[in-house]
Symmetry: D2
Subunit: 389 residues, 4 copies
């Protein structure tokens, strides 16, 4: 349920030129339920100020450091201070920023991956538990209505027992440096272990594939046999990875992610096969979800129709065939988190069935995924246990 | 260029439950450049108030009538009053509401179709010219980046001389009443000539098809040979229409629109064929635009790529293959209109090349289209001249 | 039912370099039920002989004229002479060749369009009736399994009452001459009225669209309002045409065909909308047929599956997803005609439900279509009655 | 080059009801270059006779055993005896039948997989070499024109250095037994190691995926890390398998095949990514081949166009967008083999560039693939060397 006012949002990171910060703001803006009122948009105070001007903020609430921001906002009267902060900085700062705001009594929506290590992730979970603040992680692809529909199909048994999962996330943008530069120059901070962690490709997009498979099927990985590759020689981190997967309960699978799949754009896809049927969903065509089974024609379910389940219908804003996209899916994560935050602000209990947004546990699972994949690959593609979250 | 504050928006219509009003608000919200501060959301004052609460408005600025609203807002100090109003009521009220706000010195963004008749449309143009206010019409499909790319291809001569245009807009939602009710009950106000005008299907969606063809090709219709049909007997207005078209300069074409094309959702498509090549765009898959020509393989251009022209790139918010949809396209109309309004508010001149949003002339053309189609159909599908805008 | 030997086929036309003759031969070869044993492959006796060598024929049965061939073959003993002749010459000779063979007691499979005029067509029907020979016309697109499935859907009422039909056949190959030659040079015999008849585009491919719509829906046209165009100035015949259609029983429709739709290849498509559902089939993707209706997800039926009807299953040669194409569809016309011919040869009665191949009546309907379209267009797109077959 | 007569074909296997035998006959029939004149269509002499009648054969040349057939045909005069035999029996008999005919001086076209073991395969190669007969293996998917185009792109360097290959072959037909029968009953001989060999799924369709990747890229596998699964408990052989692949030269890849991918039909697909571009081909849509690369729009190449290379154009029978399918691709293998056989019969030398059909070496590679996959899987998915062919 809502409050009788918009939620007040702060932001850390996301200054001029940043891609994901802009997406977070559009996602927050879309439904008119959230207003941005404060921020520390850059570690460079001048850039932070200019960004604050871009967003028409009171410059008194544009801060030079996130520590200042957390302290100052926490000190404001309850009817002024931010309800939550969006963290859209690089991976290596997520832990410290999130911890600071949580401990200041401010709810957090944090970009993924959660942080740099499993250790950090588990430590952050303790902070979340101790402070009791809402913590949402923007694994945004789970925000698509047809992804929610897919999950409901599996929950309801429409596919029968799950036998096989194929999830893939090929991109090609990072192949060009290979030809153009030749020297393996690190094109961005994602290739720098100190900001990005122990994996580039698997950390950046492999975690989305893992999270998507888990969200839809409810199954967690049991063991991984992985091979990471760095096709551009000078790169310190992987730009491609292929995994054989054993899931809980006996399903087998394939997961691969790549940034050198030349000509692919953002080609996240999933196929799930069960004893009673299969499903197929393509992120680049997100408004469709196909059900197929042997001896019956494929059925193409389309967003916005009354034949869909409650979750898909609840996550939709426009009628059928008025296409919704990436921002709308992202906004669904924000909307679900906003509901939880509003409940917390109003002192209401969470509903029994909980909220539908990725949590700190999804963040821990993402870190476990990265570490397990890297461990398996380092051993030359040996089956490696995926620890319990 | 922007102001150093958000633009202040009012809204007439669009209370609880209204589809298009919600879309206008999301389009206005998306970029964080506009805030809704006032409105008259329903002709029922109580419903208007409740809607105002939904949007967290100061209830002093939630009005019982649009006349009150125009007067009261115009009387507010310049740093408080709305910069523009969004009109999202039924067709039959657009004229009076728009006239009222324009004459009160308030810019207007108006839902389509413009009004009920050509006569109203031409009268409204005079008001626009006299008051000098910005007037934008939300023919939203022109807001899609790949539609802008298509227009640029034709402007630049990439297709050569245009020979043929096929534009279609089949929907199927209005067929069900046929079977379920049998009595031709009017399912909604669109079937009522007093609120909708002399055409239902051609007015509601045929105008979109016409506007899209005109926007992309720059060609206006010269003559129409049309047959409108009412497949559900008791309906007072058409639910389907097919047209042969002769365009200026010799191109021929087909335009059809339908609400009884069973199973089609919102299937607006356009194909343009010229001496040097052809193009194809499908609204349900809006992030792609195909160029094709004899003796060369089809080339599928995709939104968000650096190989696209400035207009398409300027109308995009996310990288390639992070799908954008209907709301984003709608928001592009708002963004362009907002730029014009900000310029007007700041006393800046319009840029030489103008702004990229549909204007009062597009609205007149839409009314001419409706009247010409109906006239041709009433004569049993005779070629009927399309008057000059 | 079959004979205890292959059927013996002759061919008129289709010598070296001819496209459609080769298709007929492959269609005849495919199932191993027919052998080519005689022919007059060209009006040039030398070319005819060389072609006969290509096909490994006994040169005693490669003839210098079709008249010679008919006479000589008819004079052969029953266990040697051809059972039927395939006529794959230009349109202007179909009548005389067919008449000659029919009157010689030889069955005929003839390429479409049937002939040059309605008058010829009706005269040929009399010959067919008088001689009692089998006459099949290769409107090959009706040979596709999923086209048969579509027909069965409508026959069985799956679509309810038919409201609207959209059938289109855009090609683009004839646009290139426009740019390259400028002089409107006639690229081939199809643009020559003396060989092709009164229409090029509508005769060549418009008749396919008409035949397909008729085959699938069982509806014949009642009135046509047509505009033919010649976009390349010097051409004596149309290269494009658009029609509004009124079908028997109240359905409305659009039919268009074009050879200047730049970049389109062989893009024959049909959509049929009824009160209970709609269907969509695309010739370039012939193994799929979609059923769609309001409030239910589209269902994509695929060739080769056991959920299809008997006609579709009976017209298929390979399991699902082992794609079948143009030649296989063509071969289905041959197979059905071969069954009729075998029955005739064996003196068996035709089955009650008849055979599933296009007949002389389809040929007459095609001629009526061409003449009605041309008549309507010549009057400036006036509604013109489609005479009874 | 051709002979001045049709080639004479015999067949072993492929009697009434057999799927692949019928495909071989249609492939042989299609171009009118080959005639079936003898056969041993079943190990049951009566069934063999009935099948011979179906094909209108001289029953003197319908044999009770393949040994009889080889002996009798070899004893016929040169102008009567078969030029080659098609072997379309189960895997376990291929070796003996092929050896028998080769040693009788009769050329062989053999269905895949080649035989049961690497040992058999190598032994058969020796027979081929010793006898000097033509031996072709029907890895039919390499017969598609767009597959040949893909190979040419890579040969010509259009994709740059190959980095990654993803090839997959999911089918779903074998999942149904799971639910329906529950007992894991072996549905057909493919699940019986004595007729099928040590792998079902990987032998039947995994070998196609392997062969396709090799044909297109020219790269052979260096190491495999595989996991085979049997999802239906009682089955003695695998019904699914996933492999990580290391190719010669450093490319990495994924290969998977499945018969329990519920709802998939015959979904063989390949994606190849190189430093300069990527390609994508889908067997179920075989007339298209997409080239894509970063920073340029995807280009969809379509069969039958003059912009394609000589191999693709030479393997096509109909103009663009007159779809060709599975049988035509199969017929391309026959046509290439027939050319080689005709050359051999005529005593002509093979052309320098050789012929374009799969050979005994492809058969050995297939056996190596099966054995390596099984070996790796048996070790729990360890990297296993792929021996040299």
């Amino acid at each position: 349920m809502k409050l009788n006012r918009k939620l007040r949002m702060g932001m850390v990171g996301g200054g001029r030129g940043a891609f994901i910060g802009a997406v977070h703001r559009m996602a927050a803006n879309l439904d008119g339920q959230i207003e941005l009122v404060a921020g520390c948009f850059s570690s460079d105070p001048k850039k932070s100020r200019l960004s604050g001007q871009d967003f028409y903020l009171d410059l008194a609430r544009v801060y030079a450091s996130y520590e200042d921001m957390a302290a100052a906002e926490a000190a404001l009267p309850a009817d002024q201070r931010i309800d939550f902060v969006s963290i859209v900085t690089r991976n290596n700062t997520h832990f410290a920023v999130a911890k600071t705001f949580l401990e200041a009594g401010i709810h957090v929506i944090c970009d993924k991956p959660l942080c740099l290590t499993v250790k950090e992730a588990r430590a952050l979970k303790k902070v979340v538990e101790k402070t009791g603040q809402v913590f949402a992680l923007t694994h945004n692809y789970t925000g698509y209505p047809m992804v929610k529909e897919a999950r409901d199909w599996i929950t309801s048994g429409k596919l029968g027992k799950i036998l096989k999962i194929v999830v893939e996330y090929p991109q090609g943008y990072a192949v060009t440096a290979f030809e153009e530069k030749g020297d393996g120059a690190i094109s961005n901070w994602r290739m720098d272990p100190s900001t990005s962690g122990i994996s580039n490709c698997m950390g950046d997009i492999g975690t989305h594939a893992h999270n998507l498979a888990h969200y839809i099927t409810g199954l967690e990985i049991e063991e991984i046999c992985a091979e990471l590759s760095t096709f551009i020689p000078g790169r310190p981190l992987d730009d491609d990875g292929n995994c054989l997967i054993r899931f809980e309960g006996g399903a087998k699978g394939i997961l691969f992610a790549s940034q050198i799949s030349n000509g692919d754009e953002n080609n996240l896809n999933i196929r799930v096969y069960g004893t009673k049927g299969g499903l197929e969903w393509h992120q680049e065509n997100p408004n469709e979800l196909t059900f197929k089974c042997a001896d019956a024609p494929p059925v193409v379910h389309r967003r916005g129709n009354s034949y869909l389940g409650a979750a898909a219908q609840g996550a939709t804003r426009t009628p059928f065939a008025h296409p919704e996209g990436f921002i709308e899916a992202f906004a669904n994560v924000y909307a679900a988190a906003a509901t939880a935050i509003a409940d917390a602000v109003a002192g209401r209990k969470a509903p029994k069935k909980g909220y539908d947004f990725p949590t700190i546990d999804d963040g821990i699972a993402g870190m476990l995924f990265i570490e397990t994949v890297v461990k398996s690959s380092n051993k030359g593609a040996r089956w490696t246990k995926f620890p319990k979250v």
